[in-house]
């Protein structure tokens, strides 16, 4: 039996987890999404008063590869070297969930109807959650671009939003992937070299040190939170299976004869049920809370990497500038190709200063965004915890009530 998911999800404009200004001149959201066997189709919906667009409101259908194309075009654009490029959304990954659904389908014969239905519901809910998350990630990316004063004017971005045919950007082939790999190796080696250069500017020196450490710690926290979530999920899965197993146990057909327990142990039986139910609620809830924290950490892992990339580009420009200075001095000393050296030096100087200026503002904005996002999420996390603690308390009290009633 095949359990491919082909669901149509209608999504309302969501409260994104990054604090952004939305204004009437350009509003972008993902109004709809369709999950097919291998791919997800996002409906990108734009509302704009800008003159560049033919209409005020329009929609196109885009796939993940097209988002990546857009992101890469920003990264490769020299003019945007001085900006933090919003991190690309992660690839939609339903493999694990699909595998579980498949296994469930295969094992259908070995469990009762109720167990099967329950498990199926759980897995479908999980699939839906992953789906919603990937849509949100793609939407956040677009909103960040739309909110950025310079990036929102980018031509590729407008094409992405408006052109209602397929953009024909296939995924990278093997050769291109290999090129990327080498580029990254070179970049990281270069990055180490460049990082060693001490910056005259205190602001940037401080930022460099801070970002490096922060990025590493976020990476560690993100990894640990993922591990924690995985354990929580395994425990929750176990609890679900136990709960459905106990459910079957409660039916008269299964349980005609019994623990020849005295009534005090029957009560402990009721207690066991309460405990299982509690665990069930708590496990699902805890998973939701974990996800909130984990998503936040993952997002800032990517953002802090983007900020690091910006600093790298600036350092690179600084090194180029210093090299151009040295070349100019040498040319003047030898009195050869002076004009060429001068123009080259001026270009490098201009580039470096432009990057420095915008970088400063970008990094300050990054800080503000980060603090706001963490605050919002931590507050929501605390509120969720309170709500569920209250729910647990209620459940325990009602169990106690039933027990007291029975004796």
């Amino acid at each position: 039996m095949h359990y491919g998911m082909c669901c149509l999800c209608v999504l309302q404009p969501r409260a994104v987890n990054v604090d952004l200004q939305t204004d009437a001149t350009l509003q972008v959201d993902i109004s709809d999404a369709l999950s097919e066997r291998d791919k997800v189709k996002f409906t990108v919906h734009t509302k704009s008063t800008l003159p560049n667009f033919k209409q005020n409101e329009f929609s196109v259908v885009r796939q993940h590869e097209e988002f990546i194309w857009l992101h890469d075009s920003f990264v490769e654009n020299e003019d945007y070297a001085g900006y933090i490029i919003p991190p690309a959304p992660p690839r939609p990954d339903f493999d694990a969930s699909r595998e579980k659904l498949q296994k469930l389908g295969e094992g259908e014969g070995s469990m009762t109807k109720e167990e099967f239905t329950k498990m199926k519901q759980e897995l479908e809910a999980e699939y839906l959650a992953i789906f919603k998350k990937t849509v949100a990630m793609h939407e956040v990316f677009l909103c960040r671009v739309a909110a950025h004063p310079v990036l929102r004017k980018d031509l590729n971005f407008h094409v992405f939003l408006e052109y209602n045919q397929d953009l024909s950007v296939r995924g990278k082939n093997k050769k291109e992937k290999l090129e990327d790999f080498f580029k990254n190796v070179v970049k990281s080696a270069d990055g180490v070299l460049v990082a060693g250069v001490k910056d005259v500017d205190d602001f940037f020196e401080h930022e460099k040190t801070f970002l490096l450490e922060y990025h590493n710690r976020v990476k560690d926290a993100s990894a640990k939170s993922d591990k924690m979530i995985r354990s929580h999920k395994s425990a929750a899965d176990d609890i679900n299976r136990i709960a459905s197993s106990l459910y079957t146990l409660g039916t008269p057909a299964m349980f005609k004869f019994e623990f020849e327990f005295t009534s005090s142990v029957v009560e402990s039986g009721l207690l066991r049920f309460c405990f299982i139910a509690l665990q069930k609620i708590e496990a699902r809830v805890a998973a939701d809370e974990d996800l909130k924290l984990a998503d936040l950490l993952k997002y800032y892992l990517r953002e802090s990497q983007a900020a690091k990339d910006l600093l790298y580009r600036r350092s690179r420009a600084l090194v180029d500038y210093e090299n151009a200075n040295k070349a100019l001095d040498k040319a003047r000393a030898k009195n050869r190709d002076v004009l060429q050296a001068e123009t080259s030096q001026q270009l490098c100087c201009h580039k470096f200063e432009k990057i420095s200026e915008s970088a400063k503002q970008e990094l300050i904005d990054f800080k503000t965004r980060r603090v706001a996002a963490f605050r919002k999420n931590l507050v929501e996390l605390a509120e969720l915890e309170l709500k569920h603690a209250k729910g647990n308390l209620q459940l325990l009290q009602s169990c106690l009530g039933v027990l007291k009633g029975n004796t």
């Binding site: 801070f210 450490e213 929580h232 176990d238 299976r241 197993s245 409660g250 004869f257 020849e260 299982i276």
Partner: protein
């Protein structure tokens, strides 16, 4: 070192057969096993469901003997105490077993002679015994022609319950492992979050993150450890019940054995009759006398075994019915459904 753990067994009773109304004795774990062995030998073959003894645990006991000074040793002793109590309750709640002088002696007598050869009676050993009996039954020469469909149904129920509980037990054990894992991972996450908090240069956020780490650390760890313990106790209750189901199966097997004995005796009787017929034809008067004696002997045996079989069947039937306490579960069921 020959230290051992002694458990205090206190009885309160109004029954006439005991010397006093309240009394206390000290018993070792092997004493309980010895009691089981005696009861099983005497009453098992008659079709009684003899309550199974608690698990032997080398690891747990070693921790206690070595004097390990943490909660795990104390937990182990407490769990064992609970299991032993459950065991005794089942024994004394059984109207026939309570009449057994060995039970009375166990509860009353100051000094009990040391039980020997209880090696085979660990939890695993017990189940092995039951399984061997079941194998013997399945190798029966003549397949039992079940005249009474009630027994067939009940055995079916026992076996399906056994399967179900074993599955449940595996699930619960898996949960224990995952909860322990979760406890460890939460602790390491809390540390990591604290580190993140200290790297954060916005002071308010830094403070908030550090507090989050602290809360996560304290609360979650405690919570998960507790849950792991609860789950472990739950697993033990289930294992206990699986052993009990094993005892029920054992009684069914005893009935089968009784039946087999009867059938074998009938077959033997048939053979003896054939021998007599042959001798009559061959005209050997002295051997004939012997043959007639043997026939009489086997006829008696057949009658005896048939009566035994009926008796054992009746006992098994009574025992199983005593087990069924629908009324508790019917009251319980709506709650259970609501929660699950």
């Amino acid at each position: 070192m020959n230290a051992y753990m002694a458990y205090k067994v206190s009885t309160q009773t109004t029954l006439a057969m005991f010397r006093n109304k309240t009394f206390t004795v000290r018993r070792r774990f092997s004493d309980f096993l010895g009691l089981y062995e005696k009861l099983s030998e005497k009453h098992g073959p008659n079709g009684f469901i003899v309550p199974p003894p608690p698990e032997k645990s080398i690891l747990g006991m070693t921790k206690v003997k070595v004097g390990k000074d943490d909660s795990s040793a104390a937990d182990f002793v407490e769990r064992r105490r609970g299991a032993l109590e459950r065991y005794l309750q089942r024994v004394v709640n059984h109207p026939s077993l309570l009449q057994d002088p060995d039970v009375r002696e166990f509860l009353e007598r100051e000094e009990l002679p040391r039980a020997v050869s209880t090696q085979a009676l660990s939890g695993a050993g017990f189940l092995k015994m039951i399984n061997k009996a079941t194998d013997a039954v399945s190798k029966m020469t003549i397949k039992m022609n079940e005249s009474d469909v009630w027994f067939e149904e009940k055995l079916q129920e026992v076996e399906s319950a056994d399967q179900h509980f074993r599955k449940l037990h595996t699930l619960v054990e898996s949960l224990v492992i995952h909860r322990k894992e979760l406890s460890l991972n939460t602790a390491s996450f809390a540390k990591s979050a604290a580190m993140l908090g200290s790297a954060e240069d916005n002071t308010a956020l830094s403070r908030a993150l550090s507090q989050l780490a602290e809360v996560e650390d304290k609360m979650e760890q405690l919570h998960q450890d507790q849950a792991a313990n609860d789950t472990f106790s739950f697993a033990e209750l289930i294992a206990d019940f699986i052993r009990l189901l094993g005892a029920v199966r054992g009684s069914f097997d005893q009935r089968m054995k009784a039946w087999q004995r009867w059938q074998d005796a009938q077959a033997m009787l048939q053979k003896k009759r054939e021998t007599e017929a042959k001798l009559l034809w061959a005209n050997k008067p002295d051997k004939l006398q012997l043959a007639k004696e043997e026939i009489a002997e086997w006829e008696a045996k057949v009658t005896q075994y048939e009566r035994d079989f009926e008796r054992v069947s009746a006992t098994v039937r009574k025992e199983v019915i005593r087990f069924e306490l629908i009324k508790y579960w019917e009251a319980f069921l709506p709650e259970a459904k609501a929660i699950a």
